[in-house]
Symmetry: C2
Subunit: 333 residues, 2 copies
Protein backbone atom coordinates (compact mmCIF):
# COMPACT_ATOMS: atom_id res chain seq x y z
CA UNK A 1 0.00 0.00 0.00
CA UNK A 2 1.31 3.45 -0.89
CA UNK A 3 2.27 5.79 1.95
CA UNK A 4 -0.86 7.67 3.00
CA UNK A 5 -0.98 11.40 2.28
CA UNK A 6 -3.88 11.99 4.68
CA UNK A 7 -5.02 10.29 7.84
CA UNK A 8 -8.68 11.01 7.12
CA UNK A 9 -10.54 12.42 4.14
CA UNK A 10 -14.13 13.45 4.81
CA UNK A 11 -16.94 13.98 2.35
CA UNK A 12 -20.09 15.79 3.31
CA UNK A 13 -22.55 18.61 2.82
CA UNK A 14 -20.69 21.90 3.20
CA UNK A 15 -23.01 23.95 5.38
CA UNK A 16 -22.60 27.36 7.00
CA UNK A 17 -24.18 27.44 10.47
CA UNK A 18 -26.37 30.30 11.63
CA UNK A 19 -26.77 29.70 15.37
CA UNK A 20 -29.24 31.34 17.69
CA UNK A 21 -30.33 30.85 21.28
CA UNK A 22 -34.05 30.36 21.49
CA UNK A 23 -36.81 28.87 23.62
CA UNK A 24 -39.02 25.79 23.31
CA UNK A 25 -41.92 27.97 22.18
CA UNK A 26 -40.07 29.02 19.03
CA UNK A 27 -39.57 25.36 18.14
CA UNK A 28 -43.22 24.43 18.67
CA UNK A 29 -44.54 27.61 17.01
CA UNK A 30 -42.52 26.67 13.93
CA UNK A 31 -43.41 22.98 14.00
CA UNK A 32 -39.82 21.89 14.58
CA UNK A 33 -38.86 18.52 16.05
CA UNK A 34 -36.40 19.23 18.83
CA UNK A 35 -32.97 17.68 18.45
CA UNK A 36 -33.34 16.73 14.81
CA UNK A 37 -32.19 18.00 11.42
CA UNK A 38 -34.91 19.01 8.98
CA UNK A 39 -34.28 19.81 5.37
CA UNK A 40 -35.90 23.08 4.36
CA UNK A 41 -36.47 24.79 1.03
CA UNK A 42 -35.65 28.41 0.28
CA UNK A 43 -39.08 29.71 1.25
CA UNK A 44 -39.04 27.97 4.63
CA UNK A 45 -35.44 29.12 5.17
CA UNK A 46 -36.54 32.71 4.58
CA UNK A 47 -39.48 32.34 6.92
CA UNK A 48 -37.46 30.77 9.76
CA UNK A 49 -34.70 33.33 9.38
CA UNK A 50 -37.20 36.19 9.44
CA UNK A 51 -38.52 35.03 12.80
CA UNK A 52 -35.15 34.09 14.33
CA UNK A 53 -33.26 36.22 16.82
CA UNK A 54 -29.79 37.71 16.25
CA UNK A 55 -27.34 34.99 15.28
CA UNK A 56 -23.75 33.90 15.51
CA UNK A 57 -22.29 32.41 12.34
CA UNK A 58 -19.66 29.71 11.96
CA UNK A 59 -18.69 27.25 9.30
CA UNK A 60 -20.23 23.83 9.88
CA UNK A 61 -21.35 20.69 8.09
CA UNK A 62 -21.15 17.39 9.92
CA UNK A 63 -18.21 15.68 8.21
CA UNK A 64 -16.45 19.03 7.85
CA UNK A 65 -16.65 19.56 11.62
CA UNK A 66 -15.15 16.11 12.11
CA UNK A 67 -12.36 16.79 9.65
CA UNK A 68 -11.55 20.14 11.28
CA UNK A 69 -11.41 18.32 14.61
CA UNK A 70 -9.02 15.76 13.15
CA UNK A 71 -6.73 18.54 11.95
CA UNK A 72 -7.04 20.11 15.40
CA UNK A 73 -5.51 16.98 16.89
CA UNK A 74 -2.57 17.45 14.52
CA UNK A 75 -3.54 14.68 12.09
CA UNK A 76 -3.54 15.14 8.31
CA UNK A 77 -6.99 15.83 6.99
CA UNK A 78 -8.77 16.58 3.73
CA UNK A 79 -12.36 17.51 2.92
CA UNK A 80 -14.62 17.29 -0.11
CA UNK A 81 -17.80 19.38 -0.12
CA UNK A 82 -19.54 21.93 -2.31
CA UNK A 83 -20.00 25.62 -1.60
CA UNK A 84 -20.87 28.38 -4.05
CA UNK A 85 -18.34 31.05 -4.92
CA UNK A 86 -20.24 33.65 -2.87
CA UNK A 87 -19.38 35.64 0.28
CA UNK A 88 -20.45 32.85 2.61
CA UNK A 89 -18.72 30.23 0.48
CA UNK A 90 -15.52 32.23 0.77
CA UNK A 91 -15.85 32.43 4.57
CA UNK A 92 -16.40 28.67 4.56
CA UNK A 93 -13.37 27.97 2.39
CA UNK A 94 -11.20 30.21 4.53
CA UNK A 95 -12.24 28.54 7.77
CA UNK A 96 -11.64 24.97 6.73
CA UNK A 97 -8.29 25.73 5.11
CA UNK A 98 -7.25 27.90 8.07
CA UNK A 99 -7.92 24.87 10.26
CA UNK A 100 -5.20 23.04 8.33
CA UNK A 101 -7.51 20.95 6.16
CA UNK A 102 -6.79 20.34 2.46
CA UNK A 103 -9.94 21.55 0.69
CA UNK A 104 -9.87 21.69 -3.10
CA UNK A 105 -13.43 21.01 -4.23
CA UNK A 106 -14.19 23.61 -6.89
CA UNK A 107 -16.98 25.93 -5.75
CA UNK A 108 -20.16 26.22 -7.81
CA UNK A 109 -20.09 29.38 -9.92
CA UNK A 110 -23.84 29.57 -10.37
CA UNK A 111 -26.98 27.96 -8.97
CA UNK A 112 -28.12 28.16 -5.36
CA UNK A 113 -26.16 29.96 -2.64
CA UNK A 114 -23.82 28.20 -0.23
CA UNK A 115 -25.92 25.94 1.98
CA UNK A 116 -26.77 26.99 5.48
CA UNK A 117 -28.36 25.59 8.58
CA UNK A 118 -30.45 27.60 11.00
CA UNK A 119 -29.56 26.06 14.33
CA UNK A 120 -31.83 26.80 17.26
CA UNK A 121 -30.17 26.20 20.63
CA UNK A 122 -32.46 25.91 23.64
CA UNK A 123 -31.50 26.57 27.26
CA UNK A 124 -30.82 22.88 27.86
CA UNK A 125 -28.05 23.05 25.23
CA UNK A 126 -29.99 20.94 22.71
CA UNK A 127 -29.78 22.04 19.08
CA UNK A 128 -32.47 21.77 16.43
CA UNK A 129 -31.23 22.16 12.87
CA UNK A 130 -33.00 23.43 9.77
CA UNK A 131 -30.82 22.93 6.76
CA UNK A 132 -31.07 24.54 3.36
CA UNK A 133 -28.70 22.46 1.23
CA UNK A 134 -28.11 25.12 -1.43
CA UNK A 135 -24.86 24.54 -3.31
CA UNK A 136 -24.30 21.26 -1.43
CA UNK A 137 -26.88 19.88 -3.88
CA UNK A 138 -24.28 20.30 -6.63
CA UNK A 139 -21.76 17.77 -5.31
CA UNK A 140 -21.29 14.96 -7.83
CA UNK A 141 -19.02 11.99 -8.42
CA UNK A 142 -16.86 14.29 -10.58
CA UNK A 143 -15.81 16.06 -7.39
CA UNK A 144 -14.13 12.88 -6.14
CA UNK A 145 -10.41 12.82 -6.96
CA UNK A 146 -9.28 9.20 -7.07
CA UNK A 147 -5.70 9.89 -5.98
CA UNK A 148 -6.80 12.01 -3.07
CA UNK A 149 -9.24 9.39 -1.81
CA UNK A 150 -6.78 6.54 -2.31
CA UNK A 151 -4.21 8.56 -0.38
CA UNK A 152 -6.25 8.68 2.84
CA UNK A 153 -6.07 5.98 5.52
CA UNK A 154 -9.75 6.42 6.27
CA UNK A 155 -12.51 7.89 4.14
CA UNK A 156 -15.24 9.33 6.35
CA UNK A 157 -18.71 9.78 4.90
CA UNK A 158 -21.84 11.30 6.35
CA UNK A 159 -25.28 9.76 5.99
CA UNK A 160 -26.58 13.22 5.12
CA UNK A 161 -24.96 12.71 1.70
CA UNK A 162 -28.04 10.65 0.82
CA UNK A 163 -30.10 13.88 0.78
CA UNK A 164 -28.63 15.83 -2.17
CA UNK A 165 -29.52 14.24 -5.49
CA UNK A 166 -26.05 13.25 -6.77
CA UNK A 167 -23.92 13.04 -3.65
CA UNK A 168 -24.59 9.35 -3.04
CA UNK A 169 -22.81 8.60 -6.30
CA UNK A 170 -19.86 10.56 -4.97
CA UNK A 171 -20.15 8.55 -1.75
CA UNK A 172 -20.14 5.18 -3.51
CA UNK A 173 -17.35 6.21 -5.86
CA UNK A 174 -15.18 7.28 -2.93
CA UNK A 175 -15.90 4.08 -0.98
CA UNK A 176 -15.03 1.96 -4.01
CA UNK A 177 -11.75 3.79 -4.61
CA UNK A 178 -10.84 3.58 -0.94
CA UNK A 179 -11.41 -0.16 -0.73
CA UNK A 180 -9.57 -0.63 -4.03
CA UNK A 181 -6.59 1.05 -2.41
CA UNK A 182 -6.86 -1.06 0.74
CA UNK A 183 -8.21 1.82 2.85
CA UNK A 184 -10.97 1.90 5.45
CA UNK A 185 -14.39 3.48 4.98
CA UNK A 186 -16.32 5.02 7.87
CA UNK A 187 -19.93 6.21 7.93
CA UNK A 188 -21.84 8.31 10.39
CA UNK A 189 -25.59 7.73 10.37
CA UNK A 190 -25.96 11.52 10.89
CA UNK A 191 -29.48 11.82 12.27
CA UNK A 192 -32.39 9.59 13.30
CA UNK A 193 -34.67 11.16 10.69
CA UNK A 194 -31.98 10.68 8.08
CA UNK A 195 -31.88 7.01 9.09
CA UNK A 196 -35.66 6.85 8.68
CA UNK A 197 -35.32 8.21 5.17
CA UNK A 198 -32.57 5.81 4.07
CA UNK A 199 -32.70 2.85 6.48
CA UNK A 200 -32.54 0.10 3.87
CA UNK A 201 -29.72 1.73 1.96
CA UNK A 202 -27.65 2.31 5.09
CA UNK A 203 -28.16 -1.31 6.16
CA UNK A 204 -27.11 -2.46 2.72
CA UNK A 205 -23.94 -0.32 2.88
CA UNK A 206 -23.11 -2.02 6.17
CA UNK A 207 -24.06 -5.57 5.24
CA UNK A 208 -22.31 -5.46 1.87
CA UNK A 209 -19.18 -4.12 3.53
CA UNK A 210 -19.24 -0.81 1.62
CA UNK A 211 -18.48 0.72 5.00
CA UNK A 212 -16.19 -0.78 7.65
CA UNK A 213 -16.94 1.45 10.58
CA UNK A 214 -20.25 2.98 11.63
CA UNK A 215 -20.83 5.86 14.04
CA UNK A 216 -24.30 6.25 15.51
CA UNK A 217 -25.88 7.89 18.49
CA UNK A 218 -28.57 6.07 20.45
CA UNK A 219 -31.47 7.65 18.58
CA UNK A 220 -29.91 6.74 15.23
CA UNK A 221 -29.22 3.19 16.35
CA UNK A 222 -32.79 2.75 17.53
CA UNK A 223 -34.08 4.22 14.29
CA UNK A 224 -31.84 1.93 12.25
CA UNK A 225 -33.18 -1.23 13.86
CA UNK A 226 -36.63 0.14 14.70
CA UNK A 227 -36.38 -1.00 18.27
CA UNK A 228 -36.42 0.86 21.56
CA UNK A 229 -34.28 -1.82 23.19
CA UNK A 230 -30.65 -0.79 23.24
CA UNK A 231 -29.19 -4.28 23.67
CA UNK A 232 -31.22 -5.69 20.80
CA UNK A 233 -30.06 -2.85 18.56
CA UNK A 234 -26.45 -3.25 19.64
CA UNK A 235 -26.54 -6.99 18.90
CA UNK A 236 -27.85 -6.22 15.41
CA UNK A 237 -25.17 -3.61 14.90
CA UNK A 238 -22.44 -6.08 15.83
CA UNK A 239 -23.78 -8.49 13.22
CA UNK A 240 -23.96 -5.84 10.52
CA UNK A 241 -20.62 -4.08 10.83
CA UNK A 242 -17.06 -4.90 11.81
CA UNK A 243 -16.73 -1.85 14.02
CA UNK A 244 -19.66 0.09 15.48
CA UNK A 245 -19.33 3.08 17.77
CA UNK A 246 -22.43 4.24 19.61
CA UNK A 247 -22.40 7.58 21.43
CA UNK A 248 -24.70 7.99 24.41
CA UNK A 249 -24.29 11.64 25.43
CA UNK A 250 -23.36 11.90 29.12
CA UNK A 251 -23.26 8.11 29.38
CA UNK A 252 -20.18 7.96 27.16
CA UNK A 253 -19.81 5.57 24.24
CA UNK A 254 -19.84 1.90 23.36
CA UNK A 255 -17.30 0.47 20.94
CA UNK A 256 -18.47 -2.84 19.46
CA UNK A 257 -16.00 -4.89 17.43
CA UNK A 258 -14.94 -8.47 16.82
CA UNK A 259 -12.86 -8.10 19.99
CA UNK A 260 -15.97 -7.47 22.07
CA UNK A 261 -17.68 -4.43 23.54
CA UNK A 262 -15.84 -1.59 25.30
CA UNK A 263 -17.65 1.15 27.21
CA UNK A 264 -15.87 4.49 27.56
CA UNK A 265 -17.17 7.24 29.86
CA UNK A 266 -17.93 10.79 28.74
CA UNK A 267 -15.52 13.61 29.66
CA UNK A 268 -16.53 15.88 32.52
CA UNK A 269 -17.72 19.36 31.58
CA UNK A 270 -18.30 22.57 33.52
CA UNK A 271 -21.37 23.71 31.65
CA UNK A 272 -23.36 22.43 28.68
CA UNK A 273 -23.89 25.35 26.30
CA UNK A 274 -24.63 23.94 22.85
CA UNK A 275 -24.55 20.32 21.73
CA UNK A 276 -24.04 21.30 18.08
CA UNK A 277 -21.10 19.27 16.78
CA UNK A 278 -20.92 16.85 19.72
CA UNK A 279 -21.20 13.73 17.56
CA UNK A 280 -18.99 15.21 14.85
CA UNK A 281 -16.19 15.97 17.27
CA UNK A 282 -16.54 12.61 18.98
CA UNK A 283 -15.94 11.00 15.58
CA UNK A 284 -12.89 13.25 15.11
CA UNK A 285 -11.25 12.06 18.30
CA UNK A 286 -12.16 8.44 17.71
CA UNK A 287 -10.76 8.44 14.16
CA UNK A 288 -7.53 10.08 15.35
CA UNK A 289 -7.18 7.35 17.96
CA UNK A 290 -7.77 4.76 15.26
CA UNK A 291 -5.17 6.08 12.79
CA UNK A 292 -2.71 6.43 15.68
CA UNK A 293 -3.40 2.80 16.69
CA UNK A 294 -4.17 4.00 20.19
CA UNK A 295 -6.69 1.25 20.89
CA UNK A 296 -10.46 1.53 21.11
CA UNK A 297 -10.50 2.75 24.69
CA UNK A 298 -8.13 5.62 24.01
CA UNK A 299 -9.93 6.36 20.76
CA UNK A 300 -13.17 6.62 22.71
CA UNK A 301 -11.52 8.89 25.26
CA UNK A 302 -10.16 11.15 22.53
CA UNK A 303 -13.65 11.30 21.06
CA UNK A 304 -15.22 12.12 24.41
CA UNK A 305 -12.63 14.83 25.02
CA UNK A 306 -13.22 16.53 21.69
CA UNK A 307 -16.99 16.36 22.19
CA UNK A 308 -16.64 17.89 25.65
CA UNK A 309 -14.75 20.86 24.20
CA UNK A 310 -17.33 21.65 21.55
CA UNK A 311 -20.44 21.44 23.74
CA UNK A 312 -19.14 24.05 26.17
CA UNK A 313 -19.45 26.90 23.67
CA UNK A 314 -21.64 28.02 20.80
CA UNK A 315 -20.84 26.39 17.45
CA UNK A 316 -19.72 23.06 16.04
CA UNK A 317 -16.05 23.82 15.53
CA UNK A 318 -13.50 23.59 18.36
CA UNK A 319 -12.21 26.90 19.74
CA UNK A 320 -9.35 25.35 21.71
CA UNK A 321 -6.42 23.27 20.41
CA UNK A 322 -7.52 19.63 20.63
CA UNK A 323 -3.90 18.55 20.49
CA UNK A 324 -3.05 20.58 23.59
CA UNK A 325 -6.22 19.38 25.28
CA UNK A 326 -5.30 15.75 24.63
CA UNK A 327 -1.78 16.29 25.97
CA UNK A 328 -3.16 17.99 29.08
CA UNK A 329 -5.42 14.98 29.64
CA UNK A 330 -2.61 12.50 29.15
CA UNK A 331 -4.07 11.04 25.95
CA UNK A 332 -1.92 9.97 22.99
CA UNK A 333 -2.06 12.13 19.84
CA UNK B 1 -41.32 68.50 23.24
CA UNK B 2 -43.06 65.78 21.24
CA UNK B 3 -43.42 62.34 22.79
CA UNK B 4 -40.23 60.39 22.01
CA UNK B 5 -40.56 57.46 19.61
CA UNK B 6 -37.17 56.02 20.60
CA UNK B 7 -35.14 56.10 23.76
CA UNK B 8 -31.85 56.05 21.88
CA UNK B 9 -30.93 56.33 18.21
CA UNK B 10 -27.36 55.34 17.36
CA UNK B 11 -25.32 56.22 14.31
CA UNK B 12 -22.15 54.37 13.45
CA UNK B 13 -20.09 52.30 11.07
CA UNK B 14 -22.00 49.09 10.33
CA UNK B 15 -19.32 46.42 10.61
CA UNK B 16 -19.53 42.62 10.49
CA UNK B 17 -17.11 41.02 12.95
CA UNK B 18 -14.88 38.11 12.02
CA UNK B 19 -13.48 36.91 15.34
CA UNK B 20 -10.61 34.54 15.89
CA UNK B 21 -8.58 33.36 18.87
CA UNK B 22 -4.91 33.94 18.32
CA UNK B 23 -1.61 34.45 20.10
CA UNK B 24 0.64 37.43 20.72
CA UNK B 25 3.00 36.26 17.98
CA UNK B 26 0.34 36.68 15.31
CA UNK B 27 -0.14 40.29 16.39
CA UNK B 28 3.56 41.10 16.35
CA UNK B 29 4.19 39.18 13.11
CA UNK B 30 1.53 41.33 11.47
CA UNK B 31 2.63 44.59 13.04
CA UNK B 32 -0.60 45.04 14.97
CA UNK B 33 -0.92 47.24 18.04
CA UNK B 34 -2.64 45.15 20.68
CA UNK B 35 -5.92 46.47 22.00
CA UNK B 36 -6.46 49.04 19.28
CA UNK B 37 -8.52 49.44 16.14
CA UNK B 38 -6.60 49.87 12.89
CA UNK B 39 -8.20 50.83 9.62
CA UNK B 40 -7.12 48.54 6.81
CA UNK B 41 -7.56 48.63 3.05
CA UNK B 42 -8.77 45.75 0.93
CA UNK B 43 -5.29 44.37 0.23
CA UNK B 44 -4.35 44.29 3.90
CA UNK B 45 -7.74 42.80 4.76
CA UNK B 46 -7.07 39.99 2.30
CA UNK B 47 -3.59 39.42 3.68
CA UNK B 48 -4.69 39.33 7.33
CA UNK B 49 -7.63 37.07 6.51
CA UNK B 50 -5.41 34.68 4.57
CA UNK B 51 -3.17 34.22 7.61
CA UNK B 52 -5.96 34.10 10.22
CA UNK B 53 -7.28 30.93 11.80
CA UNK B 54 -10.88 29.67 11.52
CA UNK B 55 -13.29 32.34 12.63
CA UNK B 56 -16.63 32.95 14.27
CA UNK B 57 -18.76 35.65 12.69
CA UNK B 58 -21.22 38.03 14.31
CA UNK B 59 -22.68 41.39 13.47
CA UNK B 60 -20.83 44.22 15.17
CA UNK B 61 -20.00 47.91 14.85
CA UNK B 62 -19.50 49.93 18.01
CA UNK B 63 -22.67 52.05 18.11
CA UNK B 64 -24.68 49.15 16.70
CA UNK B 65 -23.55 46.93 19.57
CA UNK B 66 -24.64 49.63 22.00
CA UNK B 67 -28.01 50.01 20.34
CA UNK B 68 -28.59 46.24 20.35
CA UNK B 69 -27.74 46.28 24.06
CA UNK B 70 -30.25 49.06 24.65
CA UNK B 71 -32.95 47.02 22.92
CA UNK B 72 -31.85 44.04 25.01
CA UNK B 73 -32.74 46.00 28.14
CA UNK B 74 -36.21 46.49 26.68
CA UNK B 75 -35.73 50.14 25.69
CA UNK B 76 -36.76 51.51 22.28
CA UNK B 77 -33.80 51.75 19.95
CA UNK B 78 -32.99 52.74 16.38
CA UNK B 79 -29.81 52.54 14.32
CA UNK B 80 -28.42 54.31 11.28
CA UNK B 81 -25.48 52.71 9.45
CA UNK B 82 -24.55 51.60 5.96
CA UNK B 83 -24.16 48.05 4.70
CA UNK B 84 -24.13 46.81 1.13
CA UNK B 85 -26.98 44.71 -0.23
CA UNK B 86 -24.78 41.58 -0.20
CA UNK B 87 -24.92 38.29 1.75
CA UNK B 88 -23.10 39.73 4.74
CA UNK B 89 -25.14 42.92 4.63
CA UNK B 90 -28.29 40.81 4.77
CA UNK B 91 -26.99 38.86 7.77
CA UNK B 92 -26.22 42.21 9.40
CA UNK B 93 -29.64 43.64 8.68
CA UNK B 94 -31.32 40.53 10.00
CA UNK B 95 -29.38 40.54 13.24
CA UNK B 96 -29.99 44.14 14.21
CA UNK B 97 -33.69 44.00 13.36
CA UNK B 98 -34.05 40.64 15.10
CA UNK B 99 -32.65 42.33 18.20
CA UNK B 100 -35.65 44.65 18.15
CA UNK B 101 -33.85 47.67 16.71
CA UNK B 102 -35.47 49.90 14.05
CA UNK B 103 -32.99 49.88 11.17
CA UNK B 104 -34.05 51.53 7.93
CA UNK B 105 -30.87 52.89 6.37
CA UNK B 106 -31.00 51.91 2.70
CA UNK B 107 -28.17 49.52 1.83
CA UNK B 108 -25.64 50.45 -0.86
CA UNK B 109 -26.49 48.64 -4.10
CA UNK B 110 -23.00 48.93 -5.55
CA UNK B 111 -19.50 49.90 -4.41
CA UNK B 112 -17.47 48.11 -1.76
CA UNK B 113 -18.77 45.11 0.20
CA UNK B 114 -20.28 45.37 3.68
CA UNK B 115 -17.54 46.46 6.06
CA UNK B 116 -15.89 43.95 8.29
CA UNK B 117 -13.44 43.83 11.15
CA UNK B 118 -10.93 41.07 11.69
CA UNK B 119 -10.82 40.79 15.46
CA UNK B 120 -7.93 38.91 17.00
CA UNK B 121 -8.62 37.75 20.55
CA UNK B 122 -5.61 36.73 22.63
CA UNK B 123 -5.63 34.39 25.63
CA UNK B 124 -5.90 37.33 28.04
CA UNK B 125 -9.25 38.23 26.44
CA UNK B 126 -7.90 41.40 24.83
CA UNK B 127 -9.12 42.12 21.30
CA UNK B 128 -7.20 43.78 18.49
CA UNK B 129 -9.34 45.03 15.63
CA UNK B 130 -8.52 45.48 11.96
CA UNK B 131 -11.38 47.20 10.22
CA UNK B 132 -12.13 47.38 6.52
CA UNK B 133 -14.84 50.06 6.34
CA UNK B 134 -16.28 48.95 3.00
CA UNK B 135 -19.84 50.12 2.51
CA UNK B 136 -19.69 52.08 5.78
CA UNK B 137 -17.75 54.62 3.69
CA UNK B 138 -20.99 55.36 1.86
CA UNK B 139 -22.91 56.79 4.82
CA UNK B 140 -23.84 60.41 4.13
CA UNK B 141 -25.99 63.17 5.63
CA UNK B 142 -28.79 62.01 3.30
CA UNK B 143 -29.09 58.89 5.41
CA UNK B 144 -30.18 60.97 8.40
CA UNK B 145 -33.95 61.17 8.70
CA UNK B 146 -34.84 64.34 10.60
CA UNK B 147 -38.05 62.97 12.12
CA UNK B 148 -36.37 59.81 13.30
CA UNK B 149 -33.53 61.69 14.97
CA UNK B 150 -35.85 64.28 16.52
CA UNK B 151 -37.94 61.42 17.86
CA UNK B 152 -35.15 59.94 19.99
CA UNK B 153 -34.45 61.06 23.57
CA UNK B 154 -30.74 60.56 23.04
CA UNK B 155 -28.73 60.44 19.83
CA UNK B 156 -25.61 58.31 20.31
CA UNK B 157 -22.68 58.83 17.97
CA UNK B 158 -19.38 57.01 17.67
CA UNK B 159 -16.05 58.77 17.19
CA UNK B 160 -15.26 56.23 14.49
CA UNK B 161 -17.67 58.18 12.28
CA UNK B 162 -14.81 60.60 11.70
CA UNK B 163 -13.05 57.93 9.62
CA UNK B 164 -15.34 57.49 6.59
CA UNK B 165 -15.27 60.49 4.32
CA UNK B 166 -18.88 61.74 4.59
CA UNK B 167 -20.09 60.32 7.89
CA UNK B 168 -19.04 63.32 9.95
CA UNK B 169 -21.57 65.41 8.01
CA UNK B 170 -24.20 62.85 8.97
CA UNK B 171 -22.95 63.12 12.57
CA UNK B 172 -23.20 66.92 12.67
CA UNK B 173 -26.57 66.94 10.92
CA UNK B 174 -27.95 64.46 13.46
CA UNK B 175 -26.55 66.42 16.41
CA UNK B 176 -28.05 69.66 15.10
CA UNK B 177 -31.48 68.10 14.57
CA UNK B 178 -31.38 66.51 18.01
CA UNK B 179 -30.55 69.74 19.79
CA UNK B 180 -33.14 71.58 17.72
CA UNK B 181 -35.69 69.12 19.07
CA UNK B 182 -34.47 69.53 22.64
CA UNK B 183 -32.82 66.12 22.74
CA UNK B 184 -29.48 65.00 24.16
CA UNK B 185 -26.41 64.05 22.13
CA UNK B 186 -23.90 61.47 23.34
CA UNK B 187 -20.49 60.64 21.89
CA UNK B 188 -18.14 57.75 22.49
CA UNK B 189 -14.49 58.51 21.77
CA UNK B 190 -14.26 54.96 20.34
CA UNK B 191 -10.51 54.29 20.44
CA UNK B 192 -7.30 55.97 21.60
CA UNK B 193 -5.88 55.98 18.07
CA UNK B 194 -9.12 57.44 16.78
CA UNK B 195 -8.72 60.20 19.40
CA UNK B 196 -5.17 60.79 18.15
CA UNK B 197 -6.51 61.21 14.63
CA UNK B 198 -9.29 63.65 15.55
CA UNK B 199 -8.36 65.14 18.94
CA UNK B 200 -9.01 68.77 18.06
CA UNK B 201 -12.31 68.02 16.41
CA UNK B 202 -13.53 65.92 19.33
CA UNK B 203 -12.54 68.64 21.79
CA UNK B 204 -14.37 71.20 19.70
CA UNK B 205 -17.51 69.03 19.66
CA UNK B 206 -17.35 68.92 23.45
CA UNK B 207 -16.46 72.56 24.08
CA UNK B 208 -19.02 73.93 21.64
CA UNK B 209 -21.68 71.74 23.22
CA UNK B 210 -22.35 69.73 20.04
CA UNK B 211 -22.29 66.75 22.38
CA UNK B 212 -23.71 66.68 25.91
CA UNK B 213 -22.36 63.38 27.15
CA UNK B 214 -19.00 61.76 26.45
CA UNK B 215 -18.01 58.13 26.97
CA UNK B 216 -14.29 57.32 27.14
CA UNK B 217 -12.11 54.60 28.47
CA UNK B 218 -8.89 55.46 30.28
CA UNK B 219 -6.69 55.14 27.21
CA UNK B 220 -8.99 57.40 25.21
CA UNK B 221 -9.14 59.96 28.01
CA UNK B 222 -5.36 60.05 28.29
CA UNK B 223 -5.07 60.36 24.52
CA UNK B 224 -7.60 63.17 24.46
CA UNK B 225 -5.69 65.29 26.95
CA UNK B 226 -2.26 63.92 26.13
CA UNK B 227 -1.49 63.23 29.73
CA UNK B 228 -0.71 60.04 31.64
CA UNK B 229 -2.17 61.50 34.83
CA UNK B 230 -5.74 60.33 35.31
CA UNK B 231 -6.80 63.11 37.71
CA UNK B 232 -5.50 65.83 35.41
CA UNK B 233 -7.37 64.30 32.49
CA UNK B 234 -10.56 63.89 34.53
CA UNK B 235 -10.41 67.56 35.63
CA UNK B 236 -10.11 68.61 31.99
CA UNK B 237 -13.00 66.36 31.01
CA UNK B 238 -15.23 67.93 33.66
CA UNK B 239 -14.45 71.37 32.25
CA UNK B 240 -15.13 70.31 28.68
CA UNK B 241 -18.40 68.39 28.98
CA UNK B 242 -21.52 68.40 31.12
CA UNK B 243 -21.45 64.67 31.64
CA UNK B 244 -18.38 62.48 31.21
CA UNK B 245 -18.29 58.74 31.82
CA UNK B 246 -14.91 57.06 32.03
CA UNK B 247 -14.69 53.26 32.00
CA UNK B 248 -11.71 51.65 33.72
CA UNK B 249 -12.07 47.93 32.99
CA UNK B 250 -12.03 45.90 36.21
CA UNK B 251 -11.81 49.13 38.25
CA UNK B 252 -15.35 50.09 37.22
CA UNK B 253 -16.30 53.54 36.00
CA UNK B 254 -16.28 57.19 36.97
CA UNK B 255 -19.27 59.42 36.24
CA UNK B 256 -18.30 63.09 36.23
CA UNK B 257 -21.07 65.67 36.13
CA UNK B 258 -22.02 69.05 37.59
CA UNK B 259 -23.21 67.11 40.63
CA UNK B 260 -19.71 65.78 41.27
CA UNK B 261 -17.89 62.54 40.66
CA UNK B 262 -19.39 59.09 41.29
CA UNK B 263 -17.33 55.89 41.16
CA UNK B 264 -19.17 52.66 40.33
CA UNK B 265 -17.51 49.24 40.65
CA UNK B 266 -17.30 46.69 37.84
CA UNK B 267 -19.56 43.63 37.91
CA UNK B 268 -18.01 40.35 38.98
CA UNK B 269 -17.32 37.81 36.24
CA UNK B 270 -16.46 34.12 36.22
CA UNK B 271 -14.07 34.20 33.30
CA UNK B 272 -12.83 36.84 30.88
CA UNK B 273 -13.13 35.41 27.36
CA UNK B 274 -13.23 38.33 24.92
CA UNK B 275 -13.35 42.05 25.70
CA UNK B 276 -14.87 42.86 22.29
CA UNK B 277 -17.91 45.06 22.91
CA UNK B 278 -17.15 45.80 26.58
CA UNK B 279 -17.24 49.59 26.15
CA UNK B 280 -20.17 49.39 23.74
CA UNK B 281 -22.29 47.41 26.16
CA UNK B 282 -21.28 49.59 29.08
CA UNK B 283 -22.65 52.55 27.13
CA UNK B 284 -25.85 50.60 26.45
CA UNK B 285 -26.52 50.04 30.14
CA UNK B 286 -25.58 53.57 31.10
CA UNK B 287 -27.83 55.14 28.48
CA UNK B 288 -30.74 52.92 29.54
CA UNK B 289 -30.22 54.09 33.13
CA UNK B 290 -30.20 57.68 31.90
CA UNK B 291 -33.42 57.48 29.87
CA UNK B 292 -35.06 55.67 32.79
CA UNK B 293 -33.91 58.43 35.17
CA UNK B 294 -32.33 55.77 37.36
CA UNK B 295 -29.54 58.05 38.61
CA UNK B 296 -25.87 57.95 37.67
CA UNK B 297 -24.97 55.20 40.11
CA UNK B 298 -27.64 52.83 38.81
CA UNK B 299 -26.79 53.83 35.24
CA UNK B 300 -23.18 52.90 35.93
CA UNK B 301 -24.24 49.60 37.43
CA UNK B 302 -26.42 48.78 34.43
CA UNK B 303 -23.45 49.58 32.21
CA UNK B 304 -21.11 47.39 34.24
CA UNK B 305 -23.63 44.55 34.18
CA UNK B 306 -24.03 44.65 30.39
CA UNK B 307 -20.26 44.82 29.92
CA UNK B 308 -19.79 41.82 32.21
CA UNK B 309 -22.19 39.76 30.09
CA UNK B 310 -20.45 40.48 26.81
CA UNK B 311 -16.87 39.84 27.95
CA UNK B 312 -17.66 36.31 29.10
CA UNK B 313 -18.20 35.00 25.58
CA UNK B 314 -16.91 35.52 22.05
CA UNK B 315 -18.44 38.47 20.20
CA UNK B 316 -19.67 41.97 20.88
CA UNK B 317 -23.39 41.31 21.03
CA UNK B 318 -25.09 40.01 24.19
CA UNK B 319 -26.20 36.37 24.14
CA UNK B 320 -28.35 36.63 27.28
CA UNK B 321 -31.37 38.87 27.91
CA UNK B 322 -30.01 42.03 29.52
CA UNK B 323 -33.45 42.82 30.85
CA UNK B 324 -33.60 39.51 32.74
CA UNK B 325 -30.03 39.99 33.91
CA UNK B 326 -30.85 43.43 35.30
CA UNK B 327 -33.92 42.10 37.10
CA UNK B 328 -31.92 39.24 38.57
CA UNK B 329 -29.38 41.76 39.86
CA UNK B 330 -32.05 44.01 41.35
CA UNK B 331 -31.38 46.86 38.95
CA UNK B 332 -34.17 49.05 37.52
CA UNK B 333 -34.96 48.65 33.82
Amino acid sequence: MAEAKYDVLGIGNAIFDVLVKTDEKFLSDHGMTKGGMSLIDEARAASIYRDMGPATEMSGGSAANTIVGIAGFGARAAYVGKVKDDQIGRLYTHDIRAAGVAFDTSPASDGPATGCSYILVTDDGERTMNTYLGAAQELTADDIDADEVAGAKIVYLEGYLWDPKSAKEAFVKAATIAHGAGRQVALTLSDAFCVDRYRDEFLELMRKGTVDLVFANEAELHALYQTSDFDTALRQLRKDTKLGVVTRSEKGCIVASDDGVVAVPASAIDRLVDTTGAGDLFAAGFLVGLVRNAGYENAGRLGALAASEVIQHIGARPLASLKELAKKNGLPV
